[in-house]
Amino acid sequence: MRRAALFLLLSVMLAACDYPVRNQALTSANAQAKYELKYLPDGDDTLVIVTASGGGTRAAALAMSVLQAMDRIKLPSGQSLTDKVDIVSSVSGGSVTAGYFALYGKDGFDTLESSFLRRDGMSPLIGSILNPFSLAVLSTPSKERIDLLIDYLDRQLFQGKTFEDLVQRRRRPYLILNAADMVEGVPFPFTTYTMNLLCSDLGTMKLSTAVAASAAFPVALSPVTLKNYCTPSAPGRAPGVRDALQSSWYVNPSRVAWARAASAYASGSKQYIHLLDGGIADNLGVAEPYRMLTGGDNTLDLINDMGQGKIKKVVFVMVNARSFKPSGLDSSPETPGLLDMALGSVDSSIDRATFSTAERLRTLLLAELEQFATQAQDPKLKANLRAVARNTTFLPVDFDGIRDEKCRQAFHSIATSWSLSGAEIDALKKVGGALLGNDQDKVARDNFAKMLKDVGGHVDGQLPTIEDACRTVQGAG
């Protein structure tokens, strides 16, 4: 017993010397295996993008529900729309589903459901904190609160798999897990480009670590800290950044702001990057796809593929699992306490960021693509952009699309947690598919029919109905 106590004490003291190293330096050896869309097998002329928002298990279940519904949309090739997803970009809870989908495709849905969605993920996390051994370890820098989530994700789903495993899989979708740089307040997408700005390798990064960074809700979990291996004497490669930095801020403020953050990484002036829940900067996971679609300084340049006629149609499915629990604060003169203030300031900034990014994306897909075509003078480019603009469908999946107030509130009231009841999961599994084709809203229904026509697809069987999803969620309450 004494020996064990001594061992524990020594372990704790030794561990206290080092903070965990979560990312590896970029070397000539690991620089070869790059995780980029262009190295995955070619897609066809239809670009399918799915984004999945944050919101704990609620978001993970909603994203899976949508992907399962998309699997019922059969294409002329015999494949389903889920088989044809090119890019999946996600935040927080949505990253659990996105990461597992990128790793195992639709074959992973059953395991995702049984090993994660229907498991109580809160008790192991809270239990670990209450466990005296865990507490001792957590009091050292070598193990942090975020490690509880990383370990849980690895145990239940990812089993130590890395981005290199995605390279080896050689299949689409291309995965973009999004965290946020808590100092800069900007999205931090786990891409080869971004990691190379830190002179670091994406391939060796564990998926569980990237998912946990994407879901590191402020205060409750500690940030994921990445080491910047660039130094002022050995800066990182940053294509596009120099040009953007030479641009006037008045011409393109967002491009210049992005370049300033990227430059701070590549120059080595920031030695460590502390990552929190991606929702702080973009709770929908749409910022990086938006940059790709607008000719940002990005190695994934989708707008030029559209201009050259390689991409002719776009299906953009934006899954938003935002909650909106009625607050008692509005009806009380009592000054909110510290916890209410902390949660309120985080929640409201996430909601504000969500609204503005959703609006930017909607405008881009529904108006700006057509505007680009009008502005372009090159006749071939103009024709190609116009064709894409007309064959683009934006399908937002959002509880706000439910007309029935009680039902909408019931879905909005599902907690942001890693533990939901079986009945809540049942309801979420229905509502994703129901909202994709929203049978109760003519605009959404027409949109869905347009998408089917554009891709030449049909629904095999029937998608769940809003009424059925509402019945299930009200039964769950």
Binding site: K38, P239, G240, V241, R242, D243, A244, Q246, S247, S248, V251, N252, R255, V256, T294, G295, G296, D297, T299, D301, I303, N304, G307, Q308, F372, Q375, A376, Q377, D378, K380, L381
Partner: protein, 76 residues
């Protein structure tokens, strides 16, 4: 967005912003870019041999440019 038609040197791969792993196509090619400043280059034997820059181009602009020789070529 801006639309830049790179007319010359014809038949050469055009690289933008120092991203030498991703060609934007063979000149003549029209490239769609974010508003602002950009550098266009060609590469031969790991060295930049043609270059042109555009500065602070506002949204909606269409440009036609030709790259100028870089002498001596600059290693990338």
């Amino acid at each position: 967005m801006i639309f830049v038609k790179v007319q010359a040197p014809a038949g050469r791969n055009i690289y933008v912003g120092g991203d030498y792993e991703n060609s934007k196509g063979l000149a003549p090619v029209t490239i769609i870019l974010a508003a602002g400043s950009h550098t266009f280059e060609t590469v031969f034997s790991n060295a930049v041999d043609f270059r042109a820059q555009v500065q602070d181009v506002p949204d909606g602009t269409n440009l036609k440019i030709s790259l100028d020789p870089v002498s001596p070529p600059e290693p990338i």
